[in-house]
Chain length 341, copies 2
């Protein structure tokens, strides 16, 4: 018999909760026989949503949580004070081994704080990074770390490189993924203190495919599969990616709407344009894994629909089946990964 | 009689040197009676180029330099060893007071190194930042610092904020420009060590219009006129701006060329699109000032044409007439700007 994977889902988090979250969870169990979903949130609300669907009752459980953490709350304070929130209750299920993974489209801050302090890190992992996928002209890359832990040390970045490689290879199917560190130039002597100290450590790792520095200009061209940086830089990358794309598309639309001729042209261009631009939509890869924890935590985009939630749940299944925590433990334990920085 | 401004121009630097550089210099003197340009480079080559144009001979001088620093050379080593390069010879003219400003489309690294060590900083200025203008949906913003000095201290960022404000107000004509610091969130407690330490210092400055943190997502929306960051972050911002825009436009083109219908539409959309996209072209603001030096150093984009060079020279004229070095000296000397960090 196959091992059953259990995923706790925050039924109350995100712009489209609970409707799309519950719908996505049902779609996931209907696609995966070996999956059990625990929907965490207000029991009455969740049961009412569930009533609309047909599914194997064995595969869905509802765990009541009376509170919700909103995006406007201070994450640390909220996780501490709202013990009965859907995020904290669900993450406790992971810590206690009752769930293998956790999916939320709610407060990123609370998910990250809860990941560190409620779920807990794998032994030997110094920091648990958030690693969203970004679109590139070649496909996608993983940017690790975009989380809340700024001011990282070289040893953290080395662990990020290893965890990111394991994720890309085993979950995203990229064989022997290339790893690069974000830098201000590709020359040997370039970089800030952190990059200069990290560089020789990454070079010494024999369990990753390290290719050196990557300039930010080349990130959208997909020059590396795993892009290592500390979280301040990662945040700038992810948010600027979104911001520049949105501003530029606004300009494209303005141009298209500026004359009768261009408006007619726009009508003809639109269907083809929609398709190529969708390939470059950052929210398409909404489910950002938080790695290095005893179970997988997936932070789904705030505006996730049922499909996005279903895909995030599928990530948790793969994560558990591939025993990513076991693989991380094995690689983090190697000599090169715990240098005295 | 008006004060005459003298600008030294690197005739040998950039993809289009010497043709476009010499042409731009001639166009500048033909537009500005009070301008003198010193073209620095191989005398024979420059004189041959000049022979094609009509201009007031009093306004153009050629100073011979037998060497050229290329983009492939290590900047520090090149500036040290090539004493007779166009960059070093021209920057010496600024140091000796024979020129008020310097324009180059050549090696960015060599221009920055020469700025620090050949031209020299204004007394009291701790670091000379490179501050390119970037397009936004509202117009443009100044990103300071995007230079070579990574690992800045809080007191450096405070000086960047002041110098950037002076430049935007006096050269770019933005009245009381808003200043923001790049951060991972807008909440008070967010930020890395550097941002947290710099924040109260910026708040205490009464000579800038500080509005707090800016997330990278909002940079393309023009939320602040002066965007303060240390050079590693600034480099990521500038280069990712270019990279994402290029990748996205590639996708737009792909979409437009994907079917007969979309190709016909593209023909109709093209003229209008060209216009709006030009407004968002980062190379349009090719002349990035390096501030805090005794004379203005303008790093023009490597692919600068005559118009770009002419515009960079015009920046030097305004810089000198507005006595920016005097204004910087006055503000850098204030109490808030030299905190013990």
């Amino acid at each position: 018999m196959q091992k059953r994977v259990t995923v706790a889902v925050d039924a109350m988090g995100g712009d489209n909760a609970p409707v799309e979250i519950v719908k996505g969870a049902v779609e996931a169990v209907n696609e995966h026989d070996d999956l059990k979903v625990i929907l965490v949130g207000d029991e009455g609300t969740v049961l009412k949503e569930l009533a609309a669907y047909t599914f194997n009752k064995d595969q869905v459980e509802v765990v009541h949580a009376s509170e919700v953490i909103t995006n406007n709350e201070h994450p640390v304070a909220a996780v501490r004070s709202k013990k009965d929130s859907s995020i904290v209750v669900a993450q406790k299920l992971v810590r206690e081994g009752k769930a293998d993974g956790f999916v939320s489209a709610g407060s990123t801050g609370a998910v990250l704080v809860g990941g560190q302090f409620v779920v807990g890190r794998i032994k030997g992992v110094e920091r648990a990074p958030l690693a969203p996928l970004i679109p590139t002209t070649k496909g996608f890359s993983l940017v690790i770390d975009c989380g809340a832990n700024v001011d990282a040390r070289p040893s953290h970045l080395v662990q990020f490189a290893k965890m990111g490689s394991i994720y890309m290879e085993n979950i995203m199917g990229k064989k022997n993924p290339t790893v690069a560190i974000v830098n201000v130039g590709v020359e040997e002597e370039k970089g800030n203190q952190l990059v200069k100290e990290t560089m020789p450590l990454l070079k010494a790792c024999d369990d990753i495919n390290f290719i050196g520095s990557i300039e930010a200009r080349e990130i959208p061209n997909g020059w590396a599969d795993v892009i290592v940086c500390e979280a301040f830089t990662g945040n700038v990358i992810i948010k600027l990616y979104e911001g520049v794309a949105a501003a530029l598309l606004k300009k494209v639309k303005e141009g298209m709407m500026s004359s009768l001729r261009s408006k007619l042209g726009a009508l003809m261009v639109k269907p083809a344009l929609k398709k190529t631009l969708k390939e470059f939509d950052i929210s398409r890869y909404g489910g950002a894994p938080m790695l290095g924890l005893t179970g997988l935590v997936v932070k789904s985009h705030g505006n996730s629909d049922a499909t996005a939630i279903k895909n995030s749940i599928a990530q948790c299944i793969a994560f558990s089946k591939q025993d990513i925590p076991g693989k991380i433990k094995a690689h983090i334990g190697t000599k090169q990964s715990t240098p005295k920085a």
